[in-house]
Symmetry: C2
Subunit: 101 residues, 2 copies
Amino acid sequence: MVFHALGDPTRRQIVDQLSHGPASVSELAAPLPMSLPAVVQHLRVLQDCGLVESEKVGRVRTCRVRPVTMRKAERWIEERRTEWERRLDRLDEYLAEQSDK
Amino acid sequence: MVFHALGDPTRRQIVDQLSHGPASVSELAAPLPMSLPAVVQHLRVLQDCGLVESEKVGRVRTCRVRPVTMRKAERWIEERRTEWERRLDRLDEYLAEQSDK
DNA sequence: GTCACACTTAAGTCAGTGCTTAAGTATTCG
DNA sequence: CGAATACTTAAGCACTGACTTAAGTGTGAC
């Protein structure tokens, strides 16, 4: 799941770095204080939920972000937030109507 | 952290239910296949990250969603997504320019 | 061919998470 | 007051998640 993937600070950092452009596995690993296999495991989580995609050319795997999946995650939150806000608006309307009487 | 909180399916269900209106702890627990203390623990996570707030009146605690925090989470993803998309646009522009020459 | 590079796979460790049950506290109702 | 309600706290336990190291595999450069 997308939110589970974004729940880890390392994975957010990877997404952050990838938002500035594609990168190889070792480029992504460079700034991170952990072993390369650990980074590969994080990348796997990000790919499994569709936040990141990658292709291997020769011996280097290049990763990039998938905006479609990010958009879906945004929407999930947005829908619940706006639902709540619409409810509040209806409530305000109702209260205003009542005080007019 | 917000994304960690949303990473759990039970907590997403709670947020979902709360988006339709405030609810008490036992109302939130009713549809969930687990004990009430388990639900309280989930609520604690949701409150600690600011996604939910609650107040106790008498012996019933009423919970509601905090749209401000939801908006922040949306933005985090949105910023990375748009950053990536802007990068792609600039690249397109550059390529178009090159092919004109 | 051989060496270095860029991963990849596998196995194991250890802390954190998501539950449980059992017992408590505070409030309301009769 | 006594019982029922609505949580609350605490302890324990199984499982998952985030690492590690060690040993592969496939590619490119010389």
